[in-house]
């Protein structure tokens, strides 16, 4: 029998490129992406997709949904981000949704939540919620809730209704305290409540099993940290915190702790011996305790912007410490010697300022050829031959399809990268081949390589290249990690050479 509704819907979906040609029957459609289409309304026929499981309607201009949505009985994951809903669509209340994203709408009430028993993930950030006005089903399965960027002043009533909650994001609201009712959140693992007005935490909070806490930009002036036995990450940045006390039993497995831009006058030691990252930047600390060496797992220490003159000799013994931020302190010569002995891989006071990224000129070519020698010393496929390298770099320079960038410090070339224009039959268009990225050894770990790559990517974007690509020596771990961190993905292709002469 001919299905007119499916035929009409299919034509409608095709105009948005939302349906693969291989789909013949409506029952075959289980996922549908109609995001970013400026849709103001949807056809009633969508309700015939009874096998639809995932529906993405984000970035449209919807204010309501067709009544037929109540027939989408298989729908589990619905994305309605960035639409214009001010009232929750009634047609959804009969569905057993497991994931619902209504971030960036205009909702003012949570009362619709009472209809959802199976919901696991709920995002209502960036709405106009002012109060918790819902009574959730006691058997609800909510695990993750994001209520950030609303206008909530009190969430005490929420906690008893969501006993299984594992992640709660409630940043950028108007909370003034963490109330005692949070005690029922026994499963809570992540708690984010930055950018509120919190100045008080009920002691019961410290008995929970939370692993990750963000309380940045609140109104804490003093804190007594205790308990939180499973805590691994705590950030208290940008609080007017003058007093911080740490109990013996506080967070024995803490790995990251940050008190950036507070008002602390003393470096407070933490009990955890698993600390990997510690930040007391932009405080008023004058003295670093000798016991700091007890943090034998510490990899990153940020003490920038304090009043530190001396550093303990013990700092130099911290063999795991590879990153030290200590600029903007009145450091003595002795303190600078401690840093010299420590010799961290990354240290802000060693970073040279005034390094410029520029297009190469003909005067730079010899220096570039010399730098290539550094690169080819690492890459086992190539031999160092200054004349060949100079000849190659000159030919690249003279061909206007290529781009050559240099990093210069006080007139000296300290880094370089090249990009050649290729035509890709796969892309049907131009792509950029990145070659010869190298930074003088004395200028490494200062971000110069990143800046060269960033500039080259911008050039590639301006040209409209479809892709940029490069080859890296398989034994050069630093290079492989560098490119991966910057969004390059390893391909399944190997590079082969055949020497013609």
């Amino acid at each position: 029998m001919y299905d007119y509704e499916w035929d009409r819907l299919r034509v409608w979906l095709e105009q948005y490129g939302a349906i693969p040609q291989s789909v013949e029957k409506k029952e075959e459609l289980t996922r549908l992406d109609l995001s970013k289409n400026n849709l103001k309304e949807l056809p009633q026929e969508l309700g015939i997709l009874s096998n639809l499981v995932v529906l993405n309607l984000a970035h449209n201009q919807l204010e309501e949904l067709p009544e037929s949505f109540c027939n989408l009985t298989s729908l589990s994951n619905l994305d309605l981000r960035r639409n214009s809903f001010s009232i929750f669509p009634q047609a959804l209340t009969s569905l057993d949704l497991r994931s619902l994203n209504m971030s960036s709408n205009r909702l003012e009430s949570l009362s619709f939540l009472e209809h959802f028993k199976e919901l696991r993930v709920l995002d209502l950030s960036h709405n106009n919620l002012e109060k918790i006005d819902c009574s959730l089903d006691p058997k609800n399965q909510l695990r993750t809730i994001n209520l950030s960027n609303n206008f909530l002043k009190d969430i005490a009533d929420l906690f008893p209704s969501v006993p299984h909650l594992e992640r709660l994001m409630i940043n950028t609201n108007f909370l003034r305290e963490i109330p005692a009712s949070i005690s029922c959140m026994k499963a809570l693992e992540e708690f984010e409540a930055s950018d509120n007005h919190i100045s008080k935490i009920d002691p019961v909070f410290f008995t929970l099993n939370i692993e990750r806490i963000l309380l940045n930009s609140n109104n804490f002036t003093s804190l007594d940290l205790q308990g939180l036995e499973l805590l691994e990450f705590l950030s208290l940045d940008e609080n007017p915190l003058e007093e911080l006390s740490i109990a013996q039993n506080f967070a024995p497995y803490l790995q990251e702790f940050s008190c950036d831009s507070c008002e602390l006058e003393h470096f407070v030691m933490l009990q955890s011996r698993y600390l990997k990252s510690l930040c007391y930047a932009s405080n008023h600390i004058q003295e670093i305790p000798t016991e700091i060496q007890e943090y034998d797992s510490l990899q990153e220490l940020d003490l920038e912007g304090n009043d530190i003159e001396e550093l303990p000799d013990t700092l130099a013994n911290m063999s795991s410490l590879h990153t030290l931020y200590i600029a903007n302190n009145p450091l003595s010569e002795d303190a600078k010697k401690v840093i010299e002995v420590l010799d961290p891989e990354i240290c802000d006071i060693r970073m040279k300022t005034g390094v410029e990224i520029l297009n190469a000129t003909s005067e730079d070519l010899e220096a570039m050829a010399k730098l290539l020698g550094v690169l080819f010393a690492i890459e086992s496929d190539f031999e160092i031959d200054f004349d060949k390298q100079l000849r190659g770099i000159k030919r690249l320079f003279e061909d206007d399809r290529n781009d050559l960038l240099v990093a210069k410090h006080e007139g000296k070339v300290v880094g370089m990268v090249t990009m050649q224009r290729l035509i890709s039959s796969a892309e049907g268009d131009n792509v950029g081949q990145i070659e010869d990225l190298v930074v003088d050894e004395a200028y490494r770990k200062m971000g110069i390589g990143s800046r060269l790559i960033n500039h080259m990517r911008t050039i590639a974007l301006d040209y409209g290249y479809k892709r940029i690509q490069l080859a890296a020596d398989v034994n050069n771990d630093n290079a492989l990690e560098f490119y991966t961190r910057r969004g390059f993905r390893k391909t399944y292709l190997n590079v082969y050479h055949y020497k013609v002469d």
Binding site: R82, S104, H126, N128, E130, N149, F151, K153, T172, F174, S194, D195, N216, S217, D237, E238, D260, S261, C279, A281, S282, E304, Y325, D348, I357, M446, G447, S450, R451, I453, N454, H455, R457, T458, L461, R486, G487
Partner: protein, 89 residues
């Protein structure tokens, strides 16, 4: 709908008096982690423009900018400020 040029000219940080283009330039010229790079833009320790700057910083790491997204985040903050000035809290 704003053009790319209009979005690049949008003020993203009142404290540091920087627009989107200036923030992008600063982020592209440093490889400091976000917390440090943000201070180069804001020249302060406040967090008012954090969301927009974090998004721009993330985009700068991948060299691909979604200007519409940046404009949306800035607009969202302005709407929130407007709503606050109208009497919430």
């Amino acid at each position: 709908m704003k053009t790319k040029e209009e979005i690049l000219n949008l003020e993203v940080c009142e404290c540091g008096e920087k627009n989107v283009a200036q923030a992008i330039e600063i982020f592209e010229n440093t490889s400091l982690p976000f917390k440090k790079a943000k201070k180069l833009v804001t020249e302060c320790n406040k967090s008012c423009c954090r969301a927009a700057l974090l998004k721009i910083h993330d985009m700068s790491l991948y060299g691909r900018y979604d200007y519409e997204e940046i404009a949306f985040i800035i607009q969202q903050r302005l709407e929130r400020l407007k709503r606050l000035s109208e009497g919430i809290d």
